[in-house]
Amino acid sequence: MAAIDAAELRAAVAVARKELRVARRYPLQLVNEVLQPLYQFLLPSLLLGATFLVGGRAIGLESVTGTADLAGYLFLGTVVGGLVSAAFWEMAFGLKREMDAGTLEPTWLTPTRPDTVVLGRALSGLVIAGGASAVLVCIGLALFGATVGQGLLLALPALAIAAVSMIGVGYLVASAVLLIREPNFFVDATNFLFAVVSGVAFPVLVLPALVQPIAYLLPTTYAVDLLRVYALGTRPLLDPALEWGALVVLAGLTIWIGRVAFRRTERRMRVRGTLGQH
C-alpha cells in the first residue's frame, strides 16, 4: 500500500512538472499572471480607494477594518485571490481544456487515479499562483507604499491550509466542468463570486446581511482575514482561535466533498463515455 501511494505521489509531481514545463514555453502567459491582477483589479481598486482619501489617509477603510494601509489591504487580498484562481482555472478549467484537446484520455489508461492527475494540476497552479503573488506583494511594497509587517510569516500556515481547501474546491468545480459543455461562463462567474464574497476586494462586513453568512462558510474568508490580521494588524472578523479552527474544519470538509464529487463524476464519465467527446 505504501509503495502504491508513493507511486501516486510521484505521478502527481510528474503532472505538476509537466504543467510547469509547458507553462515555461509560453512566457507571455506567465507575465500575464502578474499583469492581469494588476490592471484588472489592483490598480482600479487602488484608484477608487484614492478617491476616498482624507489628508492622504484611508480613514474610511480604517474605520471598518482597523488599517489605513490601502495598498497592503488590497495586495494581500490578491494573494488569496490567486489561490482561488488556481483552483478554478488551473485545476478545473485546465482539465476541461486537456479533455477537449485529447490529452486527458491517455492519462485515464494508466494506473494513476484521475484525481491524482487533478491534484498534480493543483500543485502546479499553486506554484504559479504563489510565484505571481510574491511578485505582486513585492510590487505593492516597492511601488505602492504597502507596509506589510513580519507578522505575515505567522499567517503562512493559514495560507497553506487555505491552499488545501482550495484543492477541494477545485475538485468540486472540476466535477462540474467535466460535465458542462461550455464551462467558460460558469468558471468565470463562480471564481469571481468566490473571491468577492471571501473578502479579497473589500471587507466582508459591508456585504448585505443575507450574503454575509455565506462568507463565513468559505475557508478563504478566514485565510484572507488572518493574513491581514497578522500582516497589517486589522481587526479580526471573529476570535482568531475560532478562525483557525473554522479554517481547518472547512478545509477538511471541502477536500472530502470535492474528492467524492470528482470520483462520482469520473464514474459517470466511464459509464456515459463522454471522456473523448466535446
Binding site: 476616498f52 477603510l61 456585504l207
Partner: protein
C-alpha cells in the same frame, strides 16, 4: 458610389450582422453572461466603495469633492457600463476578422465584390443590440436597486453622448481589427488595450486622482470623455451645451480614428495580397 452598389452594400451589412447574430445565438451561456456581468462587476466595486467610505463622513465628502457627485453607485455603474461596451467591441468586432482568418473564411470574404467597409464594420453592427441590452440592464439596476433618479431629459442627453462616442469606439474596434489581422496574437493585444483603458480612463475613479502624466494619457483616450460626460449628464444634471467642448473632442477623435482604421486596413489588405497571408494563420 452608385445607388445600386450602395444598396447592395447595405444589404451586405445586414447579412453580415445577421450572420454574427446567428452565431451568437448558438452559445446560450453568452446570454446569461450578458445578464450577470453588467450587474455583478460594478456591484463588487460599489461594495468596495462602501468599504472605503466606512463610517467616515469625511471620506464620503472627499469622494464627492473629487468626483463631482455623491451617487457612488451611479458613478461606478456608468464607468463599468462603458468598460463592458469597450470590451465587447474589442473582443467582438475587433477580433472578428482575425476569427475569420483563423476559421479560413477570410479569403472567401475578400473575394466578394462587397465594399471593404462592410467587411470591417459589418460584424460591429450586431454588437449594437447587445450594447443596448447592456446599457438597459445597467440603467435598470441603477434606478431600481440604488434609487438613482434618471430623468427622461437626462436619458436622452446620455443617448446623444453615446451616439457621439460611436465613431470613436467602433473606429477603435476597426483599427484594432486591422492591426490584429496584420500582426496576429489577439489575446495579448486585447488584454493590453483593455488594461490601458481600465487604468487611465476613469472607469472606477475620477481622473483627478491620477498623477499629472496619467491625466495627460487619459485625455488622449476617447473612453475618458464618454465616461466623464455620461456621469456629468446623468449624475450631475449637466446640459448638452456644457458638454460641447468635450463632445467636440470625442467626435474629432472618432473621425481621426476611423480614418486611421481605413488606412490601416487598406495597408493590411495590400500586404496580405502581396504575401498571401489572407489564408494564413
Amino acid at each position: 458610389m452608385s445607388l445600386p452598389s450602395l444598396a447592395a452594400d447595405v444589404r451586405a451589412f445586414g447579412a453580415a450582422a445577421l450572420k454574427e447574430w446567428r452565431l451568437l445565438r448558438r452559445y446560450p451561456t453568452l446570454f446569461v453572461g450578458f445578464l450577470f456581468w453588467p450587474i455583478a462587476l460594478p456591484l463588487a466595486y460599489v461594495f468596495q466603495a462602501r468599504g472605503y467610505a466606512g463610517d467616515s463622513a469625511a471620506a464620503l465628502d472627499a469622494f464627492a469633492a473629487r468626483s463631482g457627485t455623491t451617487e457612488v453607485a451611479g458613478f461606478l455603474f456608468l464607468g463599468w457600463a462603458a468598460y463592458m461596451w469597450i470590451s465587447m467591441i474589442l473582443w467582438g468586432p475587433g477580433t472578428a476578422l482575425r476569427t475569420e482568418q483563423v476559421r479560413g473564411s477570410l479569403e472567401a470574404l475578400f473575394m466578394t465584390p462587397v465594399s471593404r467597409l462592410v467587411i470591417l464594420f459589418g460584424p460591429v453592427v450586431s454588437q449594437v443590440v447587445w450594447a443596448i441590452w447592456m446599457f438597459g440592464i445597467v440603467a435598470a439596476t441603477m434606478a431600481l436597486v440604488f434609487g438613482v433618479e434618471i430623468a427622461l431629459a437626462s436619458a436622452l442627453r446620455a443617448l446623444v453622448v453615446i451616439g457621439v462616442a460611436v465613431p470613436a469606439l467602433y473606429g477603435l474596434g476597426a483599427l484594432f481589427a486591422a492591426v490584429v489581422l496584420r500582426y496576429g496574437e489577439v489575446s495579448a493585444l486585447v488584454q493590453g488595450v483593455r488594461g490601458l483603458f481600465t487604468v487611465f480612463c476613469g472607469m472606477s475613479f475620477p481622473i483627478v486622482v491620477l498623477p499629472e502624466w496619467g491625466r495627460a494619457v487619459a485625455l488622449a483616450l476617447p473612453p475618458t470623455y464618454l465616461i466623464g460626460d455620461l456621469r456629468r449628464v446623468l449624475l450631475s444634471g449637466a446640459s448638452l451645451a456644457e458638454l460641447v467642448p468635450s463632445l467636440a473632442i470625442l467626435l474629432g477623435l472618432g473621425l481621426l480614428i476611423c480614418g486611421m482604421a481605413v488606412v490601416a486596413f487598406r495597408r493590411t489588405e495590400r500586404y496580405a495580397r502581396r504575401g498571401g497571408s489572407l489564408a494564413q494563420y
